[in-house]
Amino acid sequence: MAADNPRPAGTPTDGRPARRPLPGGRFAARGSLTGTLVKVALLGLFTALGIWAVLPLYVAGNWWGIALTVAVVALVYWVYLSGRTVPAKYLVPGVVLLMAFQILPVLYTMSTSLTNMSDGHRGTKEQAVRSIEAFSVVRTDGSEEYTLTVATKGDPETGDLVFLLTDEERQAYAGDADGLEELTGATVEDTGKVSEAFGYTLLSPNEVNARSDELQEFAVPTGEGSGIRSSGLSSAFEGSALRVYDADCDCVEDRETGTVYTADDDRGAFYDEDGERLAQGWQVGVGFDNFLRFLVDPTFATAFFGTLVWNIAFAASVTFLVFVLGLAVAMTLHAPRLRGKTAYRILVVLPYAMSSLAMYLLWRDMFNADFGLFNRMLGLEVDWLGDPWAARAAVILANVWLGYPYMFLVATGALQAIPRELSQAARLDGAGPWQAFRYVTLPLLMVAMTPILISTFAFNFNNFNAVWLLTQGGPFTSDGTMAGGATDLLITYTYRLAFSEATAQYGYAAAMSVMIFVIVSVMSVISLRRSKALQEVDR
């Protein structure tokens, strides 16, 4: 009887319209004990993750970050505790991860591309000013060197800092924020350290260290702009800051030379009248300057086209060759009568299992013109890494070797999914082996392979390691590295421009990444459209 059995979820009840069964079956509505426990555990874990993320944000005072984290956690709670958000339950994890790992980095890159962030322009103006002042403190000529004992008035943790100083004549002084005065009745050791002084608490190294931040700011004033500062725990010297920031004129004056460096908030540095700048700058927005610099540069404009053509040719030929080779090997090992298939398959997959970084370096050694394996074994005299076409061939060769095992794996899987009866039927109908492959196997294979081919192409389009570890983009013409090397991909070319060894120009690099991102996306969208058309034909 129906009344004795619990109703399966979604069965019509008397007199009411039928509700569509929800995905997730009985878990969606009621939840078994296991389901609930799993849910509680996952939500708890997620909350812990949120709190773990909030703590550093709280320390840094980043309220927007905290608000965002709380909002995401709240959203997740709502979605999984409410009974009405079934589709969202499936979508939320993917969407959150997509936002965190794909969309945020892209947005961050885009926002960085509008700044001048680079070495010397990393932080804020305040940080730059602080650094300029700190680096301008010089020791007063012929000034006394003191042996230092750090003390406080009163409590070691909170009392005012006092420097107990002894000069070379073992005369002791006490210096605090008000100035220096002679200290009498103190016990001075042979080293010059004060071991006892009435009214002062001497600090242990550990106690001094606990007040490091204060010590950084502390100086005993000795005159106009000069003061005694500590250097380590037991020495102090008199010095003065030569460069001081003046907020009224928004400038830094050098007291020694009299030069005035005025802040330029468009460029993020202090410049003097002659256009000489102070090394420490700060980060500012520069609008589309990074993109303009990229497009207007005449060397770049000519180099760009050549590099792009080779880049496409490289990605396309590697993709094509790994596909052909991988498929050929897969077909060979798919033959039903072959013995020891597993052993062969393991052997073929080996290159894929090894670290590609190490493999690239090994290939580089093998391509060495004088000592390399290729030239020695084959008796060739090819300048593999020095001749433009040989270097291109070398880069493609190494990548095909590294790339085909993956294609072989995918192709093997796809082949096994195609029933052998299909090609047997074609053969019965009188098709030759080639025709059977061309018109029966291949089209079915392409359904599985096309997305893989597109991703292989996109991967190789930006295959930085392949080029950087083998040739570093070279060989170069006598126009130098700015004109682009024979094997340069866009990514290696821009890497060289933006991250020369000394100066990392993040803003510029981000602008170039955005450009490459646009190029690769457009090409991927076009190919995906085309592959969809292919699937329509199959149906």
């Binding site: 009621r30 939840g31 509680v40 555990a41 708890g44 874990l45 909350t47 812990a48 709190i51 773990w52 703590l55 840094a60 709670y77 505790l81 009974g83 070495d119 010397g120 990393r122 932080g123 700190a134 680096f135 403190v137 010089v138 060197e145 242990s204 190294p205 550990n206 260290n209 490091s212 931040d213 010590l215 950084q216 500062r229 500590s230 250097s231 380590g232 725990l233 037991s234 020495s235 010095g239 050694d365 060495n368 013109a369 004088d370 000592f371 390399g372 890494l385 020095g386 040739t471 570093q472 070279g474 060989p475 006598s478 130098g480 590295t481 700015m482 020369s500 060894e501 000394a502 100066t503």
Partner: protein
């Protein structure tokens, strides 16, 4: 009604779970950056154990923990600058003197004032190399320079000039004793660090120096007539000339050539000493010979030093460490035991030279050396100059190659 209660219960349970997770989170927060009470030092893995051991005494005296963390040497500079920006830099880190320009402009380190009795014991060139605009940015402890290592069985006498070296080497090659005249890494992309002694000996220069010996980035000499002549002279030994210098020799295969006895001469560095001592080759160390009638072949001198990060939580003890501990001969000798490099502390150098003739020879080979320029512009020269030098060794026109390298460097350093 029942439908609602289960999710509500789940919410409460999740909240209680989160409380326990929170408690656990505090404990695991000990990350990379500096924390009060633990002096964090970044070092390359080769030296970290030695630094940890050598810092033990300091830690005990001052009642602090020392934690030496491994970072690959090439990554330390970039990582420190990034970590400083993010507020979790180490208290101290190991670095090279040519980093000072970049560290200064990013405000990532703290200037150091050495008491004069400490400073006097250190090599003067080392102190200058570590200073920018009169500020000492770190405390040096060891010096590095390249030198000529030769197989005494094949070449008993140290060559006085480069011509002599080539003559001896070519003789050995013609007799079939060796395959190569000289193992010097030229590399496909060039190696200006190793090429520098030869370029200077032949009269070329990269940056000019003003009267005070400060490097002048406005005086870029890559396309000067002197440099052009120098590179043309060097090209005579290149691939189109005598074939002594070749791009196929790089830092991967130069040492094996020498240690396999396939060449009598090797432009080597302190990093090759351990292998050399472990090998069966009888070797001796001498200065890199210059050209006949040329200037002395001055190798670049590099200095290894300790830096104090700006704004670290333990800056007082970090300063104390570099001021009074890194300048202490015992600390330097402890480090030397683990990783032999020429000490810059005079007492330590004396004691090391007595025990180890190789280190004394390396120090002697540095006699004509110049400290590698520490201005930030220096970093922009390596790649363009290297590519140009490699092209010239490969037989291409020297003027064209140097002109484009010059143009590129000038653009990058904003001239």
């Amino acid at each position: 009604m029942r439908m609602r209660s289960v999710p509500a219960l789940a919410g409460i349970a999740a909240l209680s779970l989160m409380a326990t997770a929170c408690g656990g989170g505090d404990g695991s927060d000990e990350g990379d950056g500096s924390q009060e009470g633990t002096l964090v030092i970044w070092s390359d893995p080769e030296r970290s154990d030695a630094i940890q051991a050598a810092a033990e005494e300091f830690a005990e005296t001052n009642g602090i923990e020392v934690d030496v963390q491994n970072v690959s040497f090439d990554d330390i500079q970039g990582d420190v600058v990034n970590a400083h920006q993010a507020g979790n830099a180490p208290d101290l880190f190991l670095g090279a003197h040519d980093w000072v320009g970049n560290l200064m402009r990013n405000g990532a380190v703290q200037p150091i004032e050495l008491p004069s009795d400490r400073a006097e014991e250190l090599d003067e060139t080392a102190i200058e190399a570590m200073s920018l605009d009169g500020q000492l940015l770190g405390v040096p402890y060891a010096q590095e320079n390249i030198f000529l290592m030769r197989n005494t069985e094949l070449a008993p006498d140290a060559p006085e000039t480069f011509e002599e070296l080539v003559e001896t080497g070519t003789g050995l090659k013609d007799e079939g004793e060796v395959g190569e005249v000289l193992a010097m890494a030229v590399d496909q992309e060039g190696d200006p660090f190793r090429m520098n002694p030869f370029m200077r000996s032949a009269g070329g220069y990269l940056f000019g120096q003003d009267d005070n010996g400060e490097w002048n980035p406005d005086d870029l000499g890559v396309n000067s007539d002197e440099t052009l002549e120098a590179m043309e002279q060097i090209a005579e030994y290149g691939e189109e000339g005598e074939g002594v210098l070749r791009r196929s020799i790089d830092v991967e295969n130069d040492a094996p050539l020498f240690f396999d006895g396939d060449t009598a001469f090797f432009v080597a560095g302190p990093w090759n000493l351990a292998d050399a001592e472990a090998s069966d080759i009888d070797f001796e160390i001498s200065a890199i010979p210059g050209f006949e009638d040329g200037e002395p072949a001055s190798p670049y001198l590099g200095y290894q030093s300790f830096f104090v990060s700006e704004g670290g939580a333990n800056s007082a003890l970090a300063e104390e460490f570099v001021v009074n501990h890194v300048t202490d001969p015992e600390f330097v000798l402890d480090l030397y035991e683990a990783d032999p490099r020429t000490p810059v502390q005079s007492e330590a150098l004396e004691s090391v030279s007595e025990d180890d003739p190789n280190i004394a020879a390396v120090a002697d080979a540095a006699e004509n050396g110049v400290a590698m320029p520490n201005i930030p512009e220096m970093g922009e020269t390596w790649e363009p100059l290297g590519v140009a030098q490699a092209q010239i060794i490969g037989g291409e026109d020297a003027r064209e190659a140097l002109e484009s390298a010059h143009e590129q460097i000038a653009e990058r350093i904003g001239q």
